[in-house]
Subunit: 336 residues, 4 copies
């Protein structure tokens, strides 16, 4: 029996904890979360895990892997502690809101040889994965353009916005990651425009809620990102990819498959609300991969380096937004 521990029993932690516990041959032994929430109690009930402190986890020789799903400000230290304890890591993005810390943590992980998976769950979604694999196979012809849409169902509360690192680091980071994943290339230029059009309080907090970003890859492929903090119809998570011989359209997942025909026309259900539902399969696949990575060294679809590079693009987008100019990026680039 493979023993796992999770840090954080909030919304996403509960998903990972439950999925981890349901992996054949694995169990969730420990939960580290100092706050006695309803979610934590539920996770305990469902998994039989014990509430302990971090030291217990890292000193228990039986713990074969740790899942970091606590608040962002704790990620860097937990990763470094896990590296010190030589425990394989699954970490939710982002690594840190401070890019210098991101780089430092990534270097430590890479130097240690401890396996570290990043929680870019979209890479594990059957639809996104199928499109990526088809493109990578060459059967669709040369990839020329990608257009992504990411819109939250409703704007987050300002208290969340304030500690989120901003829309680019918090929400768009998944799209930056997809740009690299789907093109199979590094990004060469980043240009971002945007502003606060949805909730003035978000603007007052120094963040934006609407943005468009254009990326070019080193070979000249074109990527368009269209991000908002609200869509009128709910959670919008779509992608279009245009290759020479095939184009791909990944649509939203509808809540049900009923269409109503009336004098108003045909009405069908809005998308699932929210990422927990939409990406339930992807989250399960992440834990399956994490267990496979621990037990027999299976490769993950996203590692700490992918976390670094996606965040580098978010940092570049922030610079572009401020300066009004495109930013050229490479492995050495970092914000001034």
């Amino acid at each position: 029996m493979l023993d796992l521990a999770i840090f954080g029993a909030g919304r996403i932690g509960s998903v990972h904890g439950r999925d981890a516990a349901q992996q054949p041959g694995a169990r969730l032994k420990y939960i580290v979360d100092p706050i006695a929430s309803e979610g934590r109690a539920k996770l305990v009930a469902e998994t039989g895990a014990q509430i302990v402190d971090a030291a217990t986890v890292f000193s228990d020789m039986d713990v074969a892997g740790v899942i970091v799903a606590s608040s962002t400000d704790t990620h860097a230290k937990l990763i470094l502690d896990a590296v010190a304890a030589r425990k394989p890591i699954f970490c939710e993005k982002p690594i840190s809101l401070d890019f210098a810390t991101v780089l430092k943590v990534a270097e430590a992980v890479e130097a240690s040889g401890v396996a570290c998976m990043l929680g870019f769950q979209r890479r594990y979604d059957p639809s996104f994965k199928a499109v990526r694999n088809r493109i990578a196979s060459g059967a669709a012809g040369n990839l020329e353009q990608i257009v992504m849409h990411t819109r939250d169902p409703a704007p987050p509360q300002v208290s969340y916005v304030e500690r989120s690192g901003g829309m680019f680091r918090d929400q768009a980071i998944h799209d930056f990651d997809q740009a690299r994943y789907l093109t199979g290339e590094e990004i060469a230029t980043v240009y971002a425009v945007g502003g606060s059009m949805i909730d003035p309080a978000i603007g007052a907090a120094g963040d934006i809620d609407c943005a468009m970003i254009v990326l070019t890859t080193v070979s000249g492929k074109l990527v368009s990102m269209n991000n908002q903090r609200r869509a009128p119809f709910g959670y919008d998570q779509r992608l279009e990819a245009f290759c020479a011989k095939e184009a791909f359209f990944i649509d939203n997942h509808a809540r049900d498959t009923v269409t109503v025909g009336s004098a108003a026309g045909y009405t069908s259900a809005p998308p699932m609300n929210y990422f927990i539902e939409r990406f339930a399969d992807a989250y399960r696949a992440e834990m399956e991969t994490f267990v496979a990575m621990i037990t027999h060294g299976a490769p993950s679809l996203a590692n700490i380096r992918d976390g670094v590079e996606a965040q580098r693009l978010a940092e570049a987008a922030i610079v572009s937004l401020k300066t009004g100019l495109p930013v050229g990026v490479d492995r050495e680039w970092r914000p001034a």
Copy 2:
């Protein structure tokens, strides 16, 4: 220049008259319609045709073909007159509401050798035609089931119902024709259920407004017809065909291609209203075929025999509805 004449300048007559006039190398020389309507005036203005009486049409040696789009009670005589004048005929369905007359007219046409096309326009629709041809080619595998949906956008006025011959002869006749056209077989049994659920005045007039009909072909293929005099979303004209290797779904034609996403979900446009718009291409193709039939003997997709057989099925359905029993039909069957 090929000279054509039309009987009837009402709704469907105006469509045929205009389409005939726009055929390259053809013109509409005469319109026969005793009622000075706005539609007749418009058709004259658009085509330059002259208003004349029937005798003028039949005695003019230059008239190369006649289009019968007048009221149903005039069809039989006009066909017989055209046969006598040896002028190729395009006739709107039905030939007559009286089946004995239908048989008599068909026999006269067939004995004469005068070409006679029946206005089953659905055979000329690009979608229905493509499905029929694909099935006939054998590429889709053996055809097993057909399911048709025909629903008017709104129930007709009772005055129309009273002279229509009833829903089976008036509306469902197109579906009976499609059953023969798509299966490429004659029908062996007819079973109909139905009643008046939409407009009590239709029931009071002795007709029905909702029906389901099941047909079997001589080889055992199964056909389902689902007919109503109203659909909540507008004109419903769909078909599903299930073969061994491929299934076909012919959908309605939407008024536009805009989808609106809101908190209520996604709403798209209702179907085109009504058959004049939905089958505009098919009506044009009918006149193109009629001209080709006249000029070089090109075959039509529906002749007077198809009109007889579709109506025989309507008559059998009427008997089935009355008796509550299925009716076995063949070339000799006729209502008692």
Copy 3:
């Protein structure tokens, strides 16, 4: 902790067993299945249940409910044993292939007052349930027509066909149930046509693989069933309902939401294969309801009477198919 026992650890038994074990406050204590299959082993591993014999289940005072998911020929006896032990029952359909036995068992259940839920899972599917509730609310206007499509992804093996009771008792029974559930009425007439067009071996075994059935309800509503043992594109499970003000279209559930655009047009994914995947939510909801029925007498959506009535319609359809005539049914009707 609510203790449950399951009979049968095959395909559907595994689904119910797992779902039962995951109900909060419930556990699967016993599995009764004499055959040491891989599925049984997996179910034991996932639920921690013990393999026991039937006597142990019925004599254990702690067993609060039994799930009957064993082969059809065992259902009747297990239900009667559960009634004798006064244990609430969840039973997969059908109750028995012999209608006299069905009636006898139902009478025993009803006389005993022991709660008995029937496994018509489609009633628990969010889409079917939403449509049914909307219709029942009256907001959609009077229901006039229902058109159902049920097609298996591939024809069953002849060995299965031989012990299935035939396509009407085995597959179409769900549609018969839906006809009653959605119209909220009893059925008055049944007319069936069909034959073996897909696999001659099915015909040789005395069954059919294609059928169309028309039902009328006591108030005159019309229902069309279109059943096949294979669809070229996979599992076909759709429903259309036409009311005065709204029409409802329940579509298949696609395997993913990717569309590929190429010179051939747009291609999207086939339906989920098969009912285990398509109705996963419905199966979970069944067990949730079963637990609620046991713990606080919550009503189920389908009871043993619904099982009787659906099967009566299957029996009537068999008679109609044989005689070529419609069959009038009521609460007293039974096959000769």
Copy 4:
């Protein structure tokens, strides 16, 4: 009878000529096209127009309006000649490939008071028009983002590319126009990236075949344009608009409404090929508007100033592409 004249009897000239001739109360009196093509002969046959030279058109007092659909290099002079003859003008875009000439011609038109309609046909398409009007009504809430897709079905020949003025002036100009039309605002910044990925010969000719352009309006609305000279599935002409309360999706127009279900999934028809078919309704509406503009001064949806402003954005995009920097634009901006 309103007499109209057309310059150019090529592909688009034939469409306009035929549509003009079919306007009630109007006729096409003259065609000016020095090349004796099949298209010109067909247009003469269909409309009864005479082939004449330009001088005849401008000196004929009866000519109430002129349609300029000849090659781009003739537009400027024909507009100025029409202004001199005080004849209302319908002109295909672009006015000229030389922006200084565009400005000069526009100033002459505006000073003269002669009505001049620009051929931005997308403004007349029922779907685009409906979306624009809904947004303009305010009912959808504040417009925040527009995402457009324009892809030709196949790359043009290099000979066409060489005289086209480049992809931005030739193809993307319609999208620039839509950006202004739908937002109801002027554009403040233009940023373009792109290259030749589809046909190296296009790159060798100094043009590009793939581009992404981001615009911001003066109030900060965001617009994304995704342009290519080829889509694998045919002509791609879509738009998405995101407002606070409603989002709009304008889809392609399919060639037919047949879906084929097979083991490969569901396949539906590719889009209509090409703009002549896709925008047939819009072209008709343009001529209807042109006639209404002549007869009673009805406003057109696009005038010469709209031509200037769309082309200004194309010029700015060319500068952005060359410099790699965004370009700030206003009414005074012009390329160096």
